[in-house]
Amino acid sequence: MMLIDCPNCGPRNENEFKYGGEAHVAYPEDPNALSDKEWSRYLFYRQNKKGIFAERWVHSGGCRKWFNALRDTVTYEFKAVYRAGEARPEIQATEGGTR
């Protein structure tokens, strides 16, 4: 079992959390102006990155709040958590895990 640091509640078991996909995918300024191709890119296209990836998570079994996290998709390690609306922290990929 992995511990995830909720910004509101502190470290809790991973099964209290749900995954919300890539973070910082902005809703289009004017959806009506988008072509079908652009709309499909907004809806379905994600980075699927290997390494540090900014993701949305929700603490559904606790405070029920959404937050963002930087997670290494190779090691599953959470590098940072930050509140929704806050800027993405600068994080360098490091060897090994901290938790």
Binding site: G10, E16, G61, R64, K65
Partner: protein, 202 residues
């Protein structure tokens, strides 16, 4: 308002009322006991810290509002407010049909929420020195005294269902499952308590 929501106390039933004898039979004197705390008042409060609604509700509870995870304003002897989230709280007290109205009046037209959820969750009290051992069988939260002090409360899970867990005293814990999960929770706790009826092997 209060009069037309009053229920005849002779006909109402609490969610674990029919299990009282089983809970008493499963309790082990001096080690761990289980009982229901029936008909408590539970009011959901929503307001963001820093706003007028938050200040008004904080004053109206008489004990303030908790500021951070685990914190409880007030205590089990009267009105207590549990922290559920940064802008979500649960005010609870022994039966008090005036509380919801008083809190709603204090909130007024400010953006926030006061909802009477008294029937939403039942309240079970697990008491005794072995209570943490019973809880640990299926609660993933850190129940060590260094992490979970007296009069702290968190949202967690027990017996695979979501519950509020409130440590009301040195050896007493209150468990708030959804009312429809009461029977499941009671049976699970009775089963988990069974081993403590046998004296420990020296």
């Amino acid at each position: 308002m209060a009069n037309d929501t009053l229920i005849d106390t002779d006909v109402r039933r609490s969610p674990a009322q029919h299990l009282a004898a089983q809970m008493e039979a499963a309790s082990v004197a001096g080690r761990v006991s289980l009982r229901e705390i029936a008909f408590t008042t539970q009011i959901s409060l929503r307001s963001a810290p820093g706003g007028a609604a938050h200040a008004a509700l904080s004053a109206a509870t008489g004990v303030g509002l908790p500021a951070t995870v685990g914190e409880v304003a007030g205590d089990v002897s009267g009105t207590a407010v549990l922290w559920l989230g940064p802008d979500e709280f649960l005010a609870t007290s022994p039966e008090n049909i005036e509380l919801a109205g008083a809190l709603a009046a204090a909130l007024g037209d400010e953006p926030g929420q006061v909802v009477d959820l008294s029937a939403n969750r039942s309240v079970l009290e697990l008491e005794g020195p072995d209570a943490p051992l019973v809880l640990r069988k299926s609660c993933p939260a850190d129940l060590h005294p260094r992490a979970f002090g007296v009069n702290q409360a968190i949202t967690t899970s027990l017996a695979n269902i979501p519950v509020l867990l409130w440590r009301t005293g040195e050896t007493s814990w209150r468990i708030f499952p959804r009312a429809s999960f009461t029977e499941h929770t009671v049976h699970w706790l009775i089963d988990a308590m069974a081993e403590f009826a046998v004296p420990p092997v020296a």
